[in-house]
Amino acid sequence: MRKSWMKLVVATTMLVASLAASSAVVTSAGAASASAPGEDSKAVGFIFVGPKDDFGYNQAAYEGSQAVKKAFPNVKVLTAENVPQDDNAARVMEGMVSRGAKILFATSYGHLDAALKVAKAHPDVVVVQQGNFIEGDITPNTGTYFGTVYEPVYLAGIAAGLETKTDKLGYVYAFPIPQTINNINAFELGALSVNPKVKTYTVNTSNWCDPAAQAEATKSLLSQGVDVITQHQDCTATVIKTTEAAGKMTVGYHADASKLAPKGWITGSEWAWDDMYVDIVKTALAGDFTGSKYNANYRVGYKTGENPFVESKFGKIVTAKEKAAVASAKETISTDGSPFAGPVVAQDGKVLFAAGVVPTYAEIEATAVFVKGVVGDLPKS
């Protein structure tokens, strides 16, 4: 017995660590009817991977759900926070279906499998997923939607490339998902477009929100001489405060955090989901979801004029000339250009998009490597 007790503690520790990650309520039931998917639904369900007040991704999605509530006073809005990205998500959504929801928003990248499972079990329920990509055939009641997050990030990269004095930018990210890879690439490409010497150093934390790990990552970047830091994390305060305390500059993500960095704030990107959520619900309630633009992998950007991801305001340090450079680039990518307009070269020298090529949103989303100028390797799993 003596030897085994320590193993017990280690095992218990691991068990608890895994338990701590899941805390969603689980219910289950079924429903069926013959009308068009989502038509005349009495309720709309939203699931979020994190808490609704993270001043980031989940809060933005939650605020979108409240816009739906306001726009459709007769429809009940059901929300569930901290829904894990596994089968629990399916159970939470099943519970919402049993409470009358025929329109469901699965708002995290990792909720896709669960969303498709629920959609398959309930052909009369519209299930849309935020940010992932459905491979192959799309059934009449499913779809994914997202903005082109990398467009405002590209513009922020231009401002960062002009502001940096050391020609070293830093990027703290969580996991190498396609959104993040696109953001990092766009940031470096934006900076490169105005500063040929600039490099973007990357550090990942393997966690969407571990403030202490973020502090360590930021300090590691600063010690390499990086003087502008941006991030892709769910909670954003630590990276910004650590950078500001070191007297360096910040590019924000998810929300306007300029008050955390009164001296070093350059600009950033933030969410504005209200219009798109309301329109999706409106389309589904009318029974028009099937065959609509949302019954697909729907992507919008500056070209379509309704990107739900927008630029934050500029900080004090940004000059009029720099703002003009950003404005002119925005004009280009809103008309016939793209942050990824060729030539774009990968880290290993392979040409991703040849000179003169303007890739489509789908082609950009499929990029799985860093571009030249990004320092750091994508972790292999």
Binding site: M1, R2, M6, A20, A212, S220, L221, S223, A237, D377
Partner: protein, 304 residues
């Protein structure tokens, strides 16, 4: 900066919160009470410190509030295991989940608050010593305080009369009771010290290191502290070394990545836990035989 130096600096920086929690757990376990809820005490400490700091604008007021919050949670653990004689391991976990819920609920309002964090203060002369100065003497006040806590806890446990009583309580409470002492009071105080120290550790995370509050922000560092205490055989100076080892392991990944070194992030993130398992295998048997007798009872799950 030199990679080795950066990792060592990160080791102290990231290891300090673990050190506080580990020292507290050392005192608690020496008195025969395992508290797996110290992860929860760290959470309460982190939020308590952050909230009091935001309200007062004074980091020390924050640290005191963090200590009080961590101690208060540990007393709940103490009541159940000492008065109600509940299972220590199960109770510790329940207390942790209680803390997780409470801090998530009340912490939401503080996510966007701005605080007055502890600042870095460089010790004159000492900070100019190569390596040593960079690693130990360019730190925040709570880190300096932790240097003093290590010998203090050691002295308290092994050189003071009260420490003798405390260790006695951890070995055989019946003996103490026979001689007219109140072992339960001693154990209560030990559990309280454990919670207070973990609370300061949480305060260090939220108001000196990350300068932010977010739910579940301790992210398992309290459990790492429990592991450190076991493989350090409940010796304060070894706990210190173990905490810095973990801090260094956590600092290795970002330091390598910022240099563009090709690594597997998932393998690297497992390093701290692999270190624990290896050390447990090496010192396991010896550590087990040296454990206070009262603790062995806990782990053997025998009643009482």
């Amino acid at each position: 900066m030199n990679l080795g130096l950066e990792v060592l600096i990160g080791g102290v920086r990231g290891g300090t919160s673990i050190l506080y929690a580990g020292l507290g757990e050392t005192v608690s376990e020496r008195a025969g009470v395992v508290n797996l809820g110290i992860e929860g005490s760290m959470l309460c400490g982190a939020l308590g410190a952050y909230a009091a700091n935001a309200a007062s604008g004074n980091p020390w007021v924050g640290a005191l509030a963090g200590a009080a919050a961590g101690g208060a949670l540990a007393l709940i653990h103490g009541y159940f295991v000492l008065d109600r004689k509940s299972n220590q391991l199960a109770t510790g976990l329940v207390v942790l989940f209680l803390a997780l819920g409470i801090t998530s609920l009340f912490g939401a309002a503080y996510v966007d608050e701005v605080i007055t964090p502890f600042t870095i203060w460089e010790v004159p002369l000492l900070s100019s010593i190569p390596w040593i100065g960079d690693i130990f003497f360019k730190a925040d006040a709570l880190t300096y305080l932790s240097y003093a806590m290590v010998p203090l806890i050691w002295w308290l446990l092994f050189r003071s009369r009260w420490g003798l009583l405390l260790r006695g309580a951890g070995e055989r409470t019946e003996v103490l009771r026979t001689y007219g002492h109140k072992p339960q009071l001693v154990q209560y105080i030990a559990v309280l010290i454990g919670g207070v120290m973990a609370g300061i550790g949480g305060a260090q995370l939220s108001t000196a290191y990350a300068n932010a509050w977010f739910e579940n922000m301790v992210q398992g560092r309290g459990f790492i502290a429990v592991a450190v205490v076991i493989f350090a055989a409940r010796q304060p100076f070894k706990v210190m070394a173990g905490s810095y080892l973990f801090g260094a392991a956590l600092a290795l990944s970002p330091a390598l990545q910022a240099r563009g070194v090709s690594i597997n992030q998932f393998a690297l993130n497992a390093v701290p836990y692999i270190v624990t398992i290896v050390v447990l295998m090496i010192v396991g048997k010896k550590g087990a035989s040296e454990a206070p007798e009262g603790l062995k009872k806990v782990f053997e799950m025998s009643p009482g």
